[in-house]
Symmetry: C5
Subunit: 98 residues, 5 copies
């Protein structure tokens, strides 16, 4: 599980039926205390959080979780956005995101 | 989940029965905004998308998803192509792939 | 599975219902014999261990385990704290944490 | 999923019963177009392919797949050889392995 | 799956009930032909192999396998020792461990 920033989207006309009406988000992992990028961007599906470019989100990278949050056991997904992060704190300092 | 370009194929005569009639694709992860390579190529199975060399695809790297998309619980697969990417957008710029 | 130090927290108002009342912890992997950082911090959920900043913990990074420890099959989680580490030993030396 | 070359074996007298009569193979990932090593060797179980040192194989690194191919739900395995690769092709070039 | 050397232990008084009476081992991956370290140490649970510091072991890093070998579906584990390695062979050379 990691915190990332939604930096983009992707579109696909031809796709598995379970991905219909699902937003495909490009999420870049960040260091939650600095907001700096911390790894390569991954594709994720929005899990009903209405996240979009600029959102700071909690991402779960595990298939069972991903299918559960979409309530679709047939969905070919592994990575989902399952929370919008408001704030992170570390070593007595806090960083607000919302 | 990542976006990649199908760059090749592999053939195997001797293989697990569940892999019969499945295309074995070599997929290279790309940065979706530049199309540049972004990691080592992996082997993936086409999930009914009719992708082939040159296709820009969405890849899910998780076993349950992979077996679900092939509708074969016995298939020894982990990585499947589950969409053909038309376009990616990031920071106000878009890159078309189809 | 790895040993890490809880270094921070994150808060989210908008989140999947299964994450309600769950502490979102920022955990930094450490070398258990030196206590030195040994990789990038990840987000984890406290599995009833009452861990918090400063705790040295055992982390399991696997979805089935995570949902089991939370006793919630619908929880979108992959990473949980499942023990508070008291001591580590290696090569005849020991390092106490509690 | 990746393509690799079987480079060695390991033997264990004391092992989980599900591993009895299973070959433990040391497999080194390769770039399928050059045959050059492309990562650290992993241990894998032969999934009835009769692969051995020198074989170029398709490896699936996922537990459900591994147990399925061995038809043993109790087997502690994650990595299996599920095909012998005959040929790989990329960018108009082909490399034959059998 | 990888071969490693058990290099240490960890103790935890406060832990998930499924981890009671389980040895928490610190295992360092090794190159099976040289015995040299080949990556960062991980925490693993002994799967009834009675391994301890100095043992050369086969480790499976997958949750379903780990819970199966412990015969405890509720156990928050991902990494288990499932064999004691006697010998490895590669390129006509052998290295004995027991």
């Amino acid at each position: 599980m990691f915190i990332g920033e939604v930096v983009g989207n992707a579109w696909a006309t031809r796709k598995h039926p379970s991905l219909k009406n699902r937003r495909l988000l490009l999420v870049k992992p960040i260091d939650p205390m600095t907001g700096e990028p911390a790894g390569d961007a991954v594709m994720a599906v929005d899990g009903g959080m209405e996240s979009g470019p600029g959102s700071i989100v909690l991402v779960v990278d595990e298939g069972g979780s991903a299918r559960g949050i979409l309530q679709d056991e047939a969905a070919p997904v592994r990575t989902v956005v399952c929370a919008i992060v408001d704030q992170a704190a570390c070593g007595g300092k806090a960083k607000k995101y919302t």
